[in-house]
């Protein structure tokens, strides 16, 4: 057990999950580069530890809301990469029958209430999910991810305040990856720590190293526990970095190659693998094998997606109304 409450199984599984996320993102990039995708995408390579650490702290029945950069969240929450990939390619077998695409992957039955194309758009919804749990006297919690840029939207403010006054079981996870598209976080706000904004609502805020899956897991577990016990919401800021451009086409003129390399040197997967090996929970070969298996799983997902049927245009109007 590498941190309090984490089983060996889960400790190992976290590494596997991070590999799958990385493999998914790399393949997505590749598919895009080869012109196989009509649409856009936002990759989370570099941020795997946040999704993985947070989602490992959840249990069945909990809810999750994600962002435009949501592949990792869904995978970490147990979504099927085949149906994700099919959605990415716009196929009928995808999670959204090809209607949603990368920015709207959802698995409503499993409590994944959707990626969201609107920056901070998920925060009010998550607050409502928290209200719903609260009113039904449930013991679930709701996690919502959002970026550093999203923390400047009015929806952030209104949502955290509401969750605070109503003591809702919502964990607001800010993935501070240093940029909102091209805007550096220190240009978009004049404070050092986004977590400090929690004080404006009278709720706990914590900043963690988002490149360290154990640190994320640990902080998330405490926040989840507090929420489950009726202790209300938490703002959890995870310091991380996106390796790729913002979306499909991004010349990245707003940052330097050196900066990227500095962060890559702290790669969450490499670091964690080393740690597990050092702790004797893993042999060095295991790590390579996980990476390979992850790529195989994604290969399989791509095969599934590519061999899946396109939606029938005659079904265009399906699902507008219940």
């Amino acid at each position: 057990m590498v941190v309090q409450g984490l089983s060996t199984d889960n400790a190992v599984k976290m590494l596997q999950t991070m590999h799958v996320i990385r493999a998914f993102e790399e393949r997505a990039d590749d598919l895009f580069a080869h012109g196989r995708v009509h649409g856009t995408m936002h990759l989370s390579a570099g941020q795997e530890a946040v999704a993985t650490g947070v989602c490992t702290a959840l249990r069945a029945g909990d809810y999750l809301l994600s962002t435009h950069r949501g592949h990792g969240h869904c995978i970490a929450r147990g979504a099927d990469v085949r149906r994700m990939m099919a959605e990415f390619l716009g196929k009928e077998t995808g999670y959204c029958r090809g209607r949603g695409g990368s920015m709207h992957i959802a698995d409503v039955d499993e409590g994944i209430l959707g990626a969201n194309g609107i920056v901070a758009g998920g925060l009010p919804l998550a607050t409502g999910v928290g209200l719903s749990i609260h009113m039904r006297r449930g013991t679930q919690v709701c996690v919502v991810f959002f970026g550093d840029g999203a923390a400047n939207e009015g929806a952030f403010h209104e949502s955290l305040n509401l969750a605070s006054v109503w003591t809702l079981p919502v964990i607001y996870v800010c993935e501070n990856n240093q940029y909102a598209m091209s805007m550096p976080v220190h240009t978009s706000m004049k404070i050092e720590r986004i977590a400090d904004r929690a004080a404006a609502y009278g709720l706990p805020g914590e900043q963690v190293n988002g490149m360290d899956v154990l640190a994320v897991y640990d902080a998330a577990t405490r926040a989840v526990e507090r929420a489950r016990q009726g202790g209300g919401p938490t703002l959890l800021e995870c310091l991380t970095y996106r390796y790729r451009g913002h979306s499909k086409s991004d010349a990245q003129r707003y940052r330097t190659r050196e900066e990227i390399e500095t962060w890559r040197a702290r790669d969450p997967i490499v670091q964690y693998e080393r740690r597990l090996v050092a702790d004797g929970l893993l042999s060095p070969e295991d790590g390579d094998q996980f990476a390979r298996r992850a790529r195989e799983a994604i290969d399989d997902a791509v095969r599934f997606a590519e061999s899946s049927p396109e939606p029938d245009p005659a079904t265009l109007l399906d699902g507008v109304y219940a």
Binding site: L125, T127, R136, S159, L162, V320, A322
Partner: protein
């Protein structure tokens, strides 16, 4: 004889009965608890249902709308009060990009059974930021339903249907109607969404009127009847989906149409109604160009006389009917 209620009481009765029947139904909004709502509609409900289900909120229109959506998606049936329909401008993203589209974007998966009740319209001297009639915006949005009752009975019956509907419904009440009275059944009789009501039958001309304009249209019809003119008055009641058939049938019968609505004329609901007539075979029945009477192309002014001049009045409707009859 059926007892009479005011429009506000009819709304309240629908809320109360649905809350009694279904514990998933709850209300949230600003000042709906001890205050009873800015127009008194939720008065007394706090005492009956308590602060959990009659939930006063901070002033945060976007987030409370999101709260309703999130609660709806996870199994509750929220009824959100937006204090004046103007303030819905603060919740457009949540209503239009989230509530209306979630189900579709998710491949037909989630349900969003929620109602947004909100008072619209002018006539109270509340000026430009408290007098909007914005229903046409929402009627433009697939995934939403839009309701605008004109009588106490319709208010009750349509609100019941709206609460029971599994889709987001924007329910426009009208400030000037709250105190109007009319017969309302005691039982929880739902009136289906999407059905127009012929408020008065007639043979010479058709008036299609919505919300607060229905009373004025009926007044105009009375006035015209004195001159032997027989006017049919149709209230669509639901603006999305719009009951085109009932309207077209009347047009085919009378061949003369006046459309009356309070919202700004350009691109108000009357634009769609006129367009549906013009693109149907009913076009061939028209004996005169359609006349639309909508709000003037200006914000609603404060001064009483100006405010009155800004939206159609009964005498304008009478004149418009005479115009289509003269053509």
């Amino acid at each position: 004889m059926i007892r009479e209620l005011s429009y506000a009481e009819a709304v309240r009765e629908a809320l109360r009965q649905e809350m009694q029947a279904d514990e998933r139904v709850f209300i949230l909004g600003e000042d709906i608890g001890v205050y009873g709502g800015a127009f008194g509609v939720t008065d007394g409900l706090l005492a009956e249902f308590g602060p959990e289900r009659i939930r006063d909120t901070p002033i945060s229109e976007a987030a409370i709308t999101g709260c309703a959506i999130g609660a709806a998606v996870t199994g509750l049936r929220p009824v959100l009060e937006i204090q004046f329909s103007d303030f819905i401008t603060l919740a457009m993203e949540q209503l239009v990009l989230q509530a209306a589209k979630l189900r579709y974007m998710f491949g037909g998966k989630a349900r969003v059974p929620m109602v947004v009740r909100t008072p619209g319209g002018s006539g109270t001297g509340a000026a430009a930021q408290h007098s909007e009639s914005l229903e046409a915006w929402f009627a433009h949005v697939p995934g939403l339903k839009v309701v605008a009752p004109s009588t106490p009975a319709d208010a009750k019956g349509l609100l019941i249907s709206s609460i029971r509907d599994d889709n987001p419904v924007i329910f426009f009440e009208h400030k000037l109607l709250y105190r109007t009275r009319g017969p309302v059944p005691e039982e929880t009789a739902a009136i289906p969404l999407g059905l127009a009501d012929v408020k008065r039958e007639g043979a010479d001309a058709t008036i299609v009127a919505t919300s607060g304009m229905v009373t004025r249209a009926l007044g105009a019809a009375d006035r015209l009847a004195q001159d032997g003119v027989s006017v049919e008055v149709i209230d669509p009641r639901t603006l999305r989906p719009l009951d085109t058939d009932t309207i077209l049938a009347s047009v085919r019968k009378t061949g003369r149409v006046v459309i009356v609505y309070e919202a700004v004329k350009t691109l108000g609901i009357g634009a769609e109604i006129a367009a549906r007539i013009a693109e149907s075979e009913a076009l061939y029945s028209l004996q005169a160009p359609i006349v639309r009477l909508g709000g003037q192309e200006c914000p609603i002014p404060y001064n009483r006389a100006l405010e009155r001049a800004a939206v159609p009045q009964q005498e304008d409707i009478v004149a418009a009917v005479r115009q289509v009859l003269a053509a």
